[in-house]
Symmetry: C2
């Protein structure tokens, strides 16, 4: 049955770009966390929006489901097919050209398959800054970043992925190309369709290109680690620094003691940053476009009242780039160190910044009561209200029952505090059912109505999001 | 026929809040530019989302069109009904409570009918900044601002209205309330419906409340007027200052010579800022959260290379608040001065910043060729690529034919330069047909499909946008 499909796909993209053997297709069928192993009748690698459009048109005609895929680095199984084998995977990785850089407009037009790091580098070569930055940047693609509205470490200062976009080009579920590549900072001429497609995880169409915003290059940086009394003190310190230094604050990462313990244990090159072991610390990064911004002095002055009130209890301000990198190393090694400790129940969650302290207090207590032997590993982007809040068990990988119970405790508390069960990773397959227990029915109905209106055959990434 | 409607509306909101007499309804039926005079069977003034929902449910049952209205300060006839008299106007102005201010989360929950200025003041009283700012701020409402994705003078630094929102509450066309009042900075759990309703000009539902972002209060300001060689020099200067000073740049307003002539003529309290009369000048505003930001020095240093290359040819840096206000007065009096000169053909347009100089050069030439006696009045937000580009005729108000020809010249040039026929005012009634000549058919189809999916009866603000 798939041989007609395969032949017609080959006619569109060429024989070499339709993969069907088990060896060739394997990397496209398994998500990188190893949680979802799918099956596909073919993996198709078009090289242009026109080829994407022809593939989608064919699939619409034959009612073949399409799973769009970028770097396949997603955390929730959104970019791999289900096990039925009826779908094709449409990989955007060959669409990796930077089409245009318009410096006077601070804009860059890129194709969906560009690796995020290549986009960052192209900006830098042109003395501009493209701020989206996340762990997978060496292999994730910008198309995937936009389809999932990626977050990362610069959201505090620059916003989420969707905030970095002026326009997009997309292939719709009927195979038509929508050229929405406007490079405008103001355009009030109807519904904002780019914001609808961004974050839709490929269920409403396939983003094939985008006009990205570029920013002035920061030329001063200051990195510091500040030990704080408790999570509430971290939130207070955030407000103090923002009031004093505004948008210079580009990073504000909370880390619990246990995170440092694990990092120091598993990465001998990292060392304890303070002579004392503090329960909570915040990694702070300030940046400025000015060369002579004197950020160390400014941060020192901003910290003074925090020391006076006991909000801050210790601080290291990096005096060199290597010291700054050493501080960032601690933060960046947490996920790996955690992995080396064994599997855990992971939560990528958000809440109003004002509820972070309460969440940690109550979440810790509830998890401790349910699992006296387990340990909470808490770190995250306090300035975005985004915590990575994981639970590790001494006996190794958590059971399905433990995972379910831990999820229930965390998600119910989030409901009460008006938080979200997915801050930056999206829904994909993993949280597709869970979200129906947390989102208002009317909102789910609107989403379904829009899905039905734009993809009446339901061929775009079925089984994800909705 | 309308008496059943009126009685049932009265039962929902009370007799006093259903207006039907000509005197009472007049202010709601005429747009403030005086271009659109409509008719309505009633003006309804609900006081809560529940009342809005009940009114919409009733209208859905009776298939009565609804025109949502805030401060009725729109520029394109989006907030007034057509002449048929079949619609009701649903005024949000009684929903004017500030529901909540969460300082630690830098967020404020407000009802749709809050006057923009009241929102700004509430933020300021809490030592926060709500940056949306525009000429009508004393009478426009935040609900209208969000429904039209308002622009204004702070877009360069803070983005459009939609960028200032964390969540919304809306009543859908079937009368259900969608509570999307999440106060989260990261939330990837499905389609971004708030961005769909914002900018939809009330055609997909009625925004009844919103969670707004608050920002640190700027504590240093520097205002300057810089004469530049030509529009291209203005664009170069923008890049220079952004590279040096980043987000400190909060205003960058281009003004042609004729704007100053008109202002000085009609407002004797204003004076020529320079001893020489320069063809083009830019009003620059820098702000900083730091008290001791030394912005004058920073601006002086940033301007130096611009003087060396002849990009800048003269500059006044305000040395007091009253001097700064005097410079802003020139900019702010342009629209009034223009009005006193007589009616003109107005264009609220945008383009990539890199095309501004070319647009002005070619637009001026084409208009000059078509109308040798007319004068172009050009000013605007260069940092947003947004020009107010108007044409005034010595004989007084332009004829319909002159207006049509001028529009055609401007809009065709914009198409070529990938610009937009509505930068910040929206489509409303005025540009609803025009947009069909400039937007791709596939985009219009998507808009229609979404409209049909969410408002199958077509009762939400019919005749606007689509």
């Amino acid at each position: 049955m798939s041989s007609e499909l395969v032949q017609r796909l080959q006619a569109i993209v060429g024989d070499a770009c339709v993969l069907t053997s088990a060896d060739d297709t394997a990397p496209y069928l398994n998500d990188w966390r190893g949680n979802y192993l799918g099956c596909a009748s073919a993996v198709v690698r078009p090289a242009s929006a026109a080829e994407v459009a022809a593939v989608v048109k064919l699939c619409a005609e034959l009612k073949v489901p399409i799973v769009p895929q970028g770097g396949n680095t997603g955390m929730v199984g959104g970019s791999v097919p289900d096990a039925s084998g009826t779908a094709i995977v449409l990989s955007l990785k060959r669409m990796n050209r930077i089409r245009d850089i318009d410096l006077a407009n601070n804009a860059m037009t890129v194709e969906a398959g560009c690796i995020l790091q290549a986009v960052q580098h192209a900006a830098q070569e042109n003395h501009r800054h493209f701020p989206l930055s996340l762990a997978a940047e060496g292999s994730c693609t910008i198309g995937g970043n936009l389809s999932t509205n990626a977050g990362g470490t610069s959201v505090l200062r620059y916003g989420n992925a969707r905030d970095l976009v002026l326009g997009i080009e997309a292939v719709l579920p009927d195979g038509r190309i929508w050229n929405g590549l406007k490079a405008l900072r103001k355009d009030n001429t109807g519904y904002d369709l780019k914001h609808l497609l961004m974050g839709a995880e490929g269920t409403l169409g396939i983003i094939t290109a985008a006009v990205l915003k570029l920013y002035p290059l920061p030329r001063s940086t200051c990195t510091a680690l500040v030990a704080v009394r408790d999570p509430q003190a971290a939130v207070l310190l955030l407000a103090t620094i923002q009031a004093a230094l505004g948008d210079r604050l580009s990073g504000f990462e909370l880390m619990a003691r246990i995170c440092l313990d694990h990092v120091v244990r598993h990465f001998p090159a990292t060392t304890e940053p303070f002579s004392a072991k503090h329960a909570w610390q915040v990694l702070i990064e300030l940046t400025d476009t000015r060369k002579d911004a004197a950020l160390e002095d400014a941060l020192g002055a901003a910290l003074e009242p925090a020391f006076d009130t006991g909000t801050a209890i210790d601080a290291v301000i990096a005096s060199s780039e290597s010291q700054a990198q050493a501080l960032w190393n601690i933060r960046e090694h947490i996920p790996e160190a955690e992995k080396l400790q064994g599997k855990s129940v992971k939560h990528d969650i958000s809440m109003p910044i004002s509820r972070i302290a309460e969440f940690i207090l109550r979440g810790d207590a509830a998890l401790k009561a349910a699992f006296p032997e387990a340990q909470v590993i808490c770190f995250g982007h306090v300035g975005d209200g985004n915590l990575h809040y994981n639970l590790s068990f001494p006996g190794g990988a958590p059971t399905a029952g433990q995972t379910r119970t831990a999820n229930t405790i965390v998600y119910m508390l989030l409901d009460e505090l008006h938080g979200s069960i997915s801050a930056e990773h999206g829904l994909g397959q993993m949280k597709r059912d869970e979200i129906t227990r947390h989102k208002p029915a009317v909102e789910l109905d609107m989403m379904r109505a829009i899905k039905k209106a734009l993809d009446p055959q339901g061929i775009m990434n079925p089984g994800k999001v909705l």
